[in-house]
Structures are given as C-alpha cells and as structure tokens.
C-alpha cells in the first residue's frame, strides 16, 4: 500500500501546487535513463570481477575464515563481500548484492540481510572524500571513525532486524 499511497500523494500534491506532473515525470524518467546508462559500465566491470572472485573459491575460503568473528555480531558470513565493497563503491555493492540474490535467493535470510545492508548504508568513503575535498580542516579523523562505526551498526542491525521481522 505504501507505494500506491505515495504515488497518489506526490502527484496530487504536485498538481495542486501547479506543477505539470506529467511533464515532470517524463523529464525525470529521461534523466533516469541517463543514470542507468551511467551505472552500466561500472556494474559490468564490477560484476565480472565479483563473479570471477566467487568462481576462484576466494569468497568461500574468506567466508569460512571470517565467519567466527561475524557470528559474534549475528552477521551471516555470506554477506562478507558486501561489507568489504560497500564503503568504497556503490555500483560494486550493487553487483555484489545482485550476485548474492541470484545465489541465495531474494527471499533467503542472506539475500534479505544483504538487501537491508545495501539500503541502509551509503558509499561512505566516497562521501567522506567529497566533503573532505571541499573543506580544509584537519580535525576530521574522528569523523572517519564515527562514519565507519555507523556502517558497522547498520550491518549488525540489518541482520538482527531481518531475523526478527521475517
């Protein structure tokens, strides 16, 4: 019900405010096409690399090694690839989540947890680079720590929330 209600609200509200809702949606959709074209090349490269890493047996070994640590926090070890790539690359994370969903299923615990992790985090190092580049204060090292802590909390809570909710 959420999506239909939102669509009704946004379009009726827009029309009442005198916005040419139809033209705006067409314009936005056109821009979406550009976004899709822009993410395609990086997704191709990243998904090739991720599929190769999976095939090589690296994920399997790494997952087994890190599993005891992650299980302390209730995080399924199968989500390690997304935890590794998420702070660095949005399209890379997209590729990883897609690979996990194909492998374990969209309705599996791993698939759902990976989706929630993806949806509740940002490309942290990219954001930090943009803001650090624009400001020239040196006293921001602690901000990096806070940002990574926020990511870690999101991963732990993602796994927990999926377990409770589904």
């Amino acid at each position: 019900m959420l999506v239909p209600a939102l669509l009704a609200f946004v379009t009726v509200f827009g029309a009442c405010r005198g916005v040419d809702v139809y033209a705006a949606m067409i314009k936005g959709a056109g821009e979406g096409l550009k976004t899709a074209a822009k993410i395609l090349p990086p997704v191709i490269i990243m998904l090739s690399a991720v599929t190769l890493l999976r095939q090589s047996g690296f994920f399997e070994l790494f997952t087994r090694l890190i599993s005891p640590v992650l299980s302390l926090f209730g995080i399924p070890a199968e989500t390690t690839p997304i935890i590794l790539i998420r702070p660095f690359s949005g399209t890379g994370a997209l590729a990883v989540v897609s690979e996990l969903l194909t492998r374990y299923g969209a309705n599996s615990y791993v698939g759902r947890t990976a989706s929630v992790m993806m949806g509740s985090t940002e490309t942290t190092f990219y954001v930090l680079a943009v803001y650090f580049g624009a400001t020239k204060t040196g006293k921001l090292k602690k901000a990096v720590f806070a940002a990574l802590l926020a990511d870690f909390v999101s991963y732990v809570v993602s796994a927990l929330a999926v377990r409770i909710f589904f």
Binding site: K27, L40, L52, L53, V130, A143, A146, A150, A161, V162
Partner: protein, 184 residues
C-alpha cells in the same frame, strides 16, 4: 585511484585462487558470464530507475523538499548547536537532509557542501557523518533489484531498512558527540 587498486586486487586474488584450486577454465568463463549478467541486471532495473526518477522530479518541482526542510528545523537545531545563529547554514543543512531523505542525490550534495563551508569542528563532523550514513526513505534501487531477483514485492525489506538506518545514524550522531566533546 582507490577503485583501481581494489579492482586490480580482485583480479590478482582471483588469479591466485583459480590457480590454486585448479579452476582456471571455469574462472575464464565466469568473468564473461558476469559481464553479461550485469547488462541483464541493469536492463531489468532501468524501468524502475526511470520511474522513480520521474516521481522524484515531481517531488522536487512541487517543493516537497522545502516543506520537509521546515519540519526538520528543530532536529537540526538539536544536532548542530553551533549553527543556531547562522540562518544560511541551518537552511543549507535542512535542504541537504530533506534531499537525502527523499533520495534526491543531485540536490543533496550541493546543499551539503554549501553547509559544510559554513560549519566547523563538531558541526562539520556531524554533517559529514550524517551524509555518509543513509537516510533514504525509499530504497528504490535495491527494491528494483530484489523484484528482478524474484521477490514478490521489492519493498518487503523497507521496515528493516528504516530500523537499520535509524540505528546507524543514531550511532554516528552519538559517536560524533562523544568524540568531539571538547569542541563544545
């Protein structure tokens, strides 16, 4: 440049492991399969990306972000005590946060950078940490990927996403408060 190292690292590790596990044959096929899967993936979510971009354009033109900014004002006063007497900074932060909530990435960054120019110390760290955590109300891209991967409704994970986002932003805010205690 960081991404180049990551990519080179991924390929180097793959090569070593493929050699060790004797799966060079399958690994060669895997890279090309991945490239093809990527095209299928992006095509399958392009409709959703376009559709939601359209909805977001309506939100932007109708000033929904502006309305949301006003609601956020008290929260911003609480989070950014140093910006209390700087109306321009407060406005830019509000614009940045409401654009983030609505998923208007193109509007969020310029507003955020405008705010960053006017902030310092703890307030600046707070702005950066809040931006590096996610506050998007509608996780549209991940919903589209879920639906194309066989979920009955891609948005079925929305409540866990909200819970995880709120906890993560809260953790970031508390961390900044504690780490920058001396900055007042």
């Amino acid at each position: 440049m960081v991404m180049s190292y990551i990519l080179a690292g991924m390929f180097a590790i793959s090569a070593v492991f493929a050699l060790l596990t004797g799966s060079a044959q399958e690994a060669s096929a895997a890279a090309i399969t991945g490239a093809g899967d990527a095209v299928a993936l992006v095509i399958s979510i392009t409709g959703a990306i376009c559709f939601w971009s359209g909805v977001m354009e309506v939100m932007e033109q109708s000033g929904l972000a502006g309305g949301l900014s006003r609601i956020l004002r008290p929260i911003i006063k609480f989070l950014f005590p140093g910006a209390k007497n700087d109306d321009a900074a407060g406005k830019a932060i509000a614009e940045n946060m409401s654009a983030n909530l609505l998923g208007l990435g193109n509007a969020a960054t310029p507003a955020g950078l405008r705010a960053a120019q006017r902030l310092k110390g703890r307030d600046l760290a707070m702005l950066i940490v809040i931006n590096s955590a996610s506050m998007q109300l509608l996780p549209t891209t991940i919903a589209a990927i879920r639906q194309s991967a066989g979920a009955a409704n891609g948005f079925d994970i929305i409540i866990p996403v909200w819970i995880a986002s709120i906890c993560s932003v809260t953790a970031g805010v508390i961390a900044v408060r504690l780490l920058y205690r001396k900055d007042g």
